[in-house]
């Protein structure tokens, strides 16, 4: 089973229009990942240029800094469980505050 992940890509430094990239990710049936696990997996194994908040991350819903728009809903990436199959969309919480891809200031 594959998860099709749509990720909004945007770089304020380039002054280009944002676009969606699609990543096909295999999450084993017996595993449960959160959105931060998913982004880390993509950046390590598929596209190292992906920008998402990862410095000073608590990973357990304490610091509340890793907010993203998960399937349209504003959530903390580290406590948002992602589906193992189907389609899943990640966008920055705010286009205006977006620094790069999913990272917002």
């Amino acid at each position: 089973m594959m998860l099709n992940v749509n990720i909004y890509r945007n770089n304020k430094q380039d002054n280009k229009e944002g676009k969606f990239d699609v990543f096909k990710v295999h999450i084993p049936d017996n595993e449960q990942w959160n959105a931060l696990d998913l982004m880390r997996h993509i950046s390590t194994n598929m596209d190292a240029s992906l920008g998402f908040y990862y410095h000073s991350v608590c990973n357990h819903g304490i610091c509340a800094r890793c907010s993203v728009r998960s399937n349209g809903k504003v959530s903390l990436a580290c406590v948002t469980i992602v589906p193992n199959s189907g389609t899943y969309t990640l966008e920055p919480v705010s286009e205006k505050r977006c620094t790069r891809d999913l990272a917002i200031k």
Binding site: D37, S43, H55, N59, V79
Partner: protein
């Protein structure tokens, strides 16, 4: 109070550079740079940095906090279980009637020195004990304003949620007033000129711009280093402070000692939570510890009682669980299992009620821990489903060598908290939260005195340029290695040879591999994106450089320490040998190379022992003293939390 820091912007002209094939060449001078001037620069916005800033500001200095994260939300304070303490006599003086005066300052001092396996610098421990009273008392005032519950636990400890500890630091900084805050900026290196501190160079992570901090004194409150793949700390714990200090010529020590705690392995979404440790303190008597084959892990009765009643549990569980995991008897994911037997149900009930009460009090919802939902675990415990638990490191004892004033060998550089070494030697059982508060304040006072006495020093622009060139190489390396892949390879070798239970062969293999990574992989790192704004590949490469420094010193120390002591456990040298190894191992910067030396800890009250124990744990057994030790009571956290919870319910019932 108005802003007290002058900021000037230097914007370099945008130039395009091309290599001989017509491709774009990254030129570091294209990156914007600005300057911030201050008297005292506190690096880090967790407890150590915050308290240093508060103390220095109270002395009338211009103070700037610069943090990789955000004030109140960064650093490891928010991850704490978390408790802080002072001696029982002081606690009574500060109005805590339930405090036990039998925990005198002297008892507290002796406990910490014994727990350190006598490697603690005794003058630093004295400073810790003496100042815990006034500092924790003030901190409690800020805690009260967070509205998060703080629970007193006899003999003399307070227990609360980690996020509240972060919030309390922020309240302290705000109440002090006039402290300039620069957030989401990673400090890359300390700037040195004429043999003393001149400031620091930072990178604004969001903008991708350099910031030169001109400072008369610098306090490094940057926390510890976690080189392992399995962690329970924030992602910032990459040894930035220790590595920067080392590059500036300051020795680092005790890097072989890490504190491991039972930690959740799966599901991956919750991986790295220390809930299994917290739950062990709550439901310990309903938990059977079993290895990967589901055979019982045998812990001698006296040690099991210590593990169930004191914070020696940190060492005892690491030793016995670590032995299973590191000798191939662990679970598939390198862990062990908590078994929750179906009989007798009452034991489950007591453990579960304790956790239920605690989670509601500190995390607002039943069966929540930190910000995560654990109702699935509640069902698992009821059904007797085994829980897979690993060991991950929560704290590194090692760090920068300091004196009791938190001063280093570099004039103007002060290091408190987890980034330093000296208070806890081979095993920290006393509270890391107390350490950051007490030492942070001391460092702030020392930095303020230094800045008034010594004035400032000019920035050496050549050093700034060299650092910029060094850390931007990844932009010009084409087709090289991803920093994420190199970090993964680094973590693998650390896991393989520098883990909980070590031996000569494994440590040597890890040292060789670190050397190879340092010489071959690291210089070949390239960034797939040329962007500077929030380029995490760039951040990761700088973090990895710091981890490599700290870990190499740690592995070299672990190889030299041919014995077992505290949290340094060797299968080939199980004995504790005070005749030959009662010293600290220090990594010195010898023209860019690591030179290992030794340092005998300073004695103020307790003479250093001689003799050997065939098995290190015999020393730990000796410390049990039939639980005569007053501090021993401290760890039965959950029992006291629940007692308070029950009392409330009972009163409400009336």
């Amino acid at each position: 109070m108005s802003s007290i820091v002058s900021i000037k912007k230097i914007v370099f002209s945008q130039k395009k550079f091309f290599d001989n094939k017509g491709g774009f060449m990254f030129d570091v001078s294209n990156i914007k740079s600005r300057v911030i001037k201050t008297d005292v620069l506190a690096i880090g916005a967790s407890g150590a940095g915050s308290l240093a800033a508060i103390a220095a500001r109270r002395q009338g200095c211009e103070v700037t906090i610069v943090a990789k994260g955000k004030l109140g939300k960064s650093g490891n304070a928010i991850m704490a279980g978390g408790s802080f303490s002072m001696d029982g006599i002081s606690a009574r003086q500060y109005g805590e009637k339930k405090a036990d005066p039998a925990l005198t300052p002297n008892v507290m001092f002796e406990d910490i020195v014994k727990q350190s396996f006598y490697l603690a610098e005794q003058d630093i421990v004295e400073q810790f004990v003496k100042n815990a009273g006034p500092r924790i008392s003030e901190f409690l005032g800020w805690m009260e304003k967070t509205k998060v519950k703080t629970i007193f636990l006899p003999p003399s400890t307070w227990f609360t949620a980690g996020r509240a500890i972060g919030q309390a630091c922020k309240i302290g900084v705000k109440e002090t007033g006039g402290i300039k805050l620069v957030e989401d900026v990673m400090i890359i290196d300390i700037l040195v000129n004429n043999g003393r501190v001149a400031g620091a160079l930072g990178l604004d992570l969001y903008k991708g711009e350099f910031i030169i901090f001109e400072a008369k004194a610098v306090v490094l409150g940057t926390g510890g280093y976690q080189p392992f793949s399995f962690r329970n700390t924030v992602t910032d714990m990459t040894g930035d402070g220790a590595a920067m200090a080392f590059r500036a010529g300051v020795p680092i020590a005790d890097m072989e000692f890490h504190l491991f705690l039972p930690t959740l392995i799966s599901p991956k979404s919750h991986r790295g939570s220390i809930l299994p440790y917290i739950y062990y303190m709550s439901g310990m008597r309903s938990i059977d510890l079993k290895n990967g084959n589901h055979d019982e892990i045998v812990i001698p009765k006296v040690l099991l009682e210590m593990a169930q009643g004191t914070k020696w549990s940190k060492q005892i569980l690491a030793y016995y669980l670590g032995k299973e995991i590191c000798s191939g008897r662990g679970s598939k994911n390198n862990g062990i299992y908590y078994h929750f037997p179906r009989r007798p149900y009452i034991k489950h009930a007591i453990g579960m009620i304790k956790f239920d009460v605690m989670s509601k009090q500190l995390y607002r919802k039943n069966w929540f821990y930190q910000g995560e939902d654990y109702n699935w675990l509640k069902e698992g415990i009821k059904n007797g489903t085994p829980l897979e638990v690993g060991l991950s490191s929560e704290y590194s004892n090692g760090g920068v060598v300091v004196d009791a004033k938190m001063a280093t060998s570099l004039p103007g550089l002060f290091v408190p908290g987890e980034a330093n070494s000296g208070a806890f030697g081979a095993l920290r059982i006393a509270d890391g939260v107390t350490e950051m508060i007490v030492q942070g304040y001391e460092a702030g006072n020392s930095a303020a005195e230094f800045s008034k006495r010594a004035g400032g020093e000019e920035i050496d622009q050549n050093q700034v340029d060299e650092i910029k060139q060094r850390v931007t190489k990844g932009f010009n390396n084409k087709g090289g290695l991803s920093p994420y892949k190199v970090r993964t390879a680094f973590e693998k070798t650390v896991d393989d040879g520098f883990n909980i239970i070590r031996d000569e062969k494994g440590l040597q293999a890890t040292l060789n591999e670190i050397d190879r990574i340092k010489k071959e992989d690291f210089p070949n790192i390239s960034f797939s994106s040329q962007t500077q704004n929030y380029n995490f590949e760039w951040i990761e490469a700088m973090q990895l450089e710091n981890l490599l420094v700290c870990t190499e010193v740690g592995v070299r120390a672990a190889l030299l320490r041919k014995e077992s002591r505290g949290t340094h456990m060797r299968s080939d040298f199980p004995q504790l040998d005070n005749n030959n190894f009662l010293y600290r191992l220090v990594g010195e910067n010898d023209h860019g190379k690591i030179k290992m030396t030794t340092k005998v800890p300073k004695v103020t009250k307790m003479l250093l022992p001689t003799g050997k124990y065939d098995q290190m744990m015999d020393y730990t057994i000796e410390q049990s003293g039939g639980h005569k030790n007053v501090n021993a009571k401290e760890a039965n956290i959950m029992a006291d939390v629940v007692k308070e919870g029950f009392n409330k319910i009972f009163k409400r019932g009336k």
